[in-house]
């Protein structure tokens, strides 16, 4: 689509939506949000970009094939589940740092898991949508 309005807004919306997705990811532990929604919003950002500028330029922007987000995300999730083993606690026990970070808040292994989910969802959604729009 070669619409000027869409192209201009997409340029602004891409970073905004990505920022919003990170915001949702970070507030997700106690408030509505989390890895899944965050990942979906991030995918929407890229899909919008693809609508405005074409698939090729979005792929160039991403640099890697979206499918490679999946193993990285899954790996992070497994890592966060296995982390408590080092302390001799059962698998998937939530570990928390004592001091809260500025802006982000209290960080624990649950956040790592959520980041994993974020990447998996982003990877899956983009792979599906890119594959479909390529074959159309």
């Amino acid at each position: 689509m070669k619409l000027l309005i869409l192209r201009t807004t997409a340029n602004f919306l891409l970073p905004l939506l990505l920022l919003f997705s990170l915001f949702l990811l970070l507030r997700g532990h106690y408030l509505p949000g989390g890895g899944f929604v965050g990942g979906i919003i991030a995918a929407i950002a890229f899909v919008l970009h693809a609508f405005a500028f074409g698939l090729r330029s979005t792929r160039k922007l991403l640099r890697v094939h979206p499918i490679s987000f999946m193993p990285v995300g899954l790996g992070l999730a497994v890592f966060s589940a296995l982390l408590p083993l080092l302390k001799g606690l059962p698998v998937m026990t939530g570990l928390w740092l004592d001091e809260p970070f500025p802006v982000v808040g209290l960080v624990g292994s649950a956040l790592l898991f959520d980041v994993g989910v974020y990447l998996v969802v982003l990877g899956v959604a983009l792979t599906i949508i890119f594959t479909i729009s390529e074959s159309v």
């Binding site: 499918i67 899954l74 497994v78 589940a81 302390k87 059962p90 698998v91 998937m92 026990t93 939530g94």
Partner: protein
């Protein structure tokens, strides 16, 4: 006691699948990782089994949430035995698939899905939480969807549609049953439910839930009126895939039935009669189905249905001896059915044909291979002293003792049908003279393969045949094991103590 060793079989398979995803396009690396990982999985399974069998039940509270609220993973003798069998079959199938699966299919994630499937199986065997059991079932189904459609041939899609529909239905019924159960008892932990279910006043509703569970697991394990999807879909995927389906996927339904009906719902007389009738009919109808098939793989699929009946019958009688027979049959069946479908794949590679009428001369061409394939075939019939014989004897004598003459008749009928079908198969495929068949260009025939490829095809069959022979010849050890499991299924107090007792002595962070 809390022990993280339990979750290792699940986590190992998960990690393997992720590592394999990184090597998406590098087939050689995938093969090596998959086989090496499967060997490690067998070692872990043996270690876990020995620890549980010789010492005591292990539990782990995931996330350190105490027992009735968090998800508990429990490793008792039954679940560790299943894990051991699953990892042995998985190792054999992993080796077999390195040659039998086409490269294009490997590029589309055959090996990662394979390890996700085994992860789901291990999780289902280990969990002590009924909702978590449902989740593992979903993991299994989703990976099997990948398998059943991988390749995308028309006949595969047709099989897949039937497979999807029935399995979704089963999951839905299973989930509904869990929801109603939770509404009544307010707990999802199976050990906790076991105590709470007796205090419910309205036992009629409990019966209804039990029937829902029976239907849900029944569809998955293909018992009598609900088995039609199985012969229609299991013959379409590749041999390596259908062998893991045949060996483990229907058996996880049996495992879940045994678990739920021994721990949560103790069957009353009505339930026992119902299950015995279903078991008998499964034997009968599966046997009749196998009788009319000329397609080798369809015939094997009907054999799966038929032999599920033995285990269902054993569950229906619900005495310690009958359960021991059912568990023994389960142990024998997992190895033999996996092996049978692998052997079927080998026969297909030799003949390039699945129609028994057009095959033949195998004994003339490959006498040693034929004798090798004879081991799973005759174990399946239960020729003494091979592995199928012992549990059948046990089940027959127990149906005498409990007065289930109808089931006894069905068991004998099922055995005879198996004998007849396998003998016919043997004479058609191995002894009959074959007319020369036109070679199909798209099949890679056995005699076109290199020496190492042949080895990779035959080694897993040898491996599983040796295990089969051990189950038959070392039946005393297996009986000791199955009696131990049956005793734990009948008297669940050790299981319950291990789960709920662990709640009080938990590690504090």
């Amino acid at each position: 006691m809390t022990n993280n060793l339990i979750i290792l079989p699940v986590m190992l398979q998960f990690t393997l699948a992720i590592v394999l995803l990184f090597f998406c396009k590098r087939i050689a690396a995938q093969k090596i990782i998959s086989i090496a990982g499967s060997i490690v999985a067998v070692v872990i399974a043996v270690g876990l089994f020995r620890q549980v069998y010789e010492k005591s039940i292990l539990t782990m509270q995931a996330g350190n949430w105490k027992a009735p609220f968090g998800i508990t993973f429990v490793a008792d003798t039954f679940s560790t035995t299943m894990i051991l069998l699953a990892s042995l079959s998985a190792l054999a199938v992993a080796v077999f698939s390195t040659v039998s699966i086409k490269r294009a299919r490997m590029k589309f994630g055959y090996f990662p899905s394979f390890h996700f499937l085994i992860m789901g199986l291990n999780g289902a065997f280990l969990t002590g939480d009924i909702f978590n059991l449902y989740v593992w079932f979903e993991v299994i189904i989703i990976s099997s969807f990948v398998f059943i459609t991988l390749g995308g041939k028309k006949v595969q899609i047709e099989g897949a549609v039937k497979y999807f529909t029935l399995n979704f239905l089963a999951s839905m019924i299973f989930l509904t049953a869990i929801a109603v159960l939770y509404g009544l008892a307010g707990s999802l932990n199976m050990a906790d439910l076991s105590g709470k279910i007796q205090t419910i006043k309205n036992q009629g509703v409990v019966q209804v839930i039990a029937i829902l569970f029976l239907v849900g697991f029944g569809i998955k394990s293909a018992i009598f009126p609900l088995y039609f999807w199985l012969p229609d879909s299991y013959h379409t995927p590749q041999a390596a895939i259908s062998s893991i389906f045949a060996g483990l996927l229907t058996k996880v339904g049996i495992y879940a039935l045994l678990r739920v009906f021994s721990l949560v719902f103790i069957p009353d007389d009505f339930m026992k009669t119902l299950v015995v009738i279903l078991g008998g009919l499964t034997l009968f109808s599966g046997g009749l189905g196998a009788l009319v098939q000329t397609n080798m793989r369809k015939m094997f699929s009907y054999m799966i249905v038929c032999h599920i009946g033995y285990m269902i019958g054993g569950i229906g009688m619900f005495t310690a001896a009958a359960l021991s027979g059912a568990v023994f049959y389960l142990i024998h069946d997992i190895i033999v059915k996996t092996n049978l479908f692998l052997a079927g794949g080998l026969i297909y590679k030799i003949n390039g044909e699945v129609n028994m009428k057009r095959m033949g001369s195998m004994y003339e061409q490959y006498p040693a291979l034929s004798l090798l394939v004879a081991v799973p075939l005759f174990s399946l019939i239960g020729v003494p002293p091979l592995s199928g014989f012992w549990p059948k004897i046990n089940l027959m004598s127990e149906s005498f003792v409990t007065g289930n003459y109808y089931l006894l008749g069905c068991i004998i009928f099922g055995s005879f049908i198996t004998l007849f079908v396998i003998t016919r198969f043997w004479s058609e495929v191995f002894w009959k003279k074959r007319e020369a068949l036109a070679r199909k260009p798209y099949i890679r025939y056995f005699d076109q393969m290199s020496r190492s490829q042949k080895t990779f095809l035959i080694t897993p069959i040898v491996f599983l045949s040796i295990i089969s022979l051990y189950i038959g010849l070392g039946a005393e050890n297996i009986f000791r094991l199955s009696n131990h499991i049956a005793a734990e299924l009948v008297d669940t107090s050790t299981y319950i103590d291990a789960v709920l007792g662990a709640a009080t002595t938990n590690v504090t962070p």
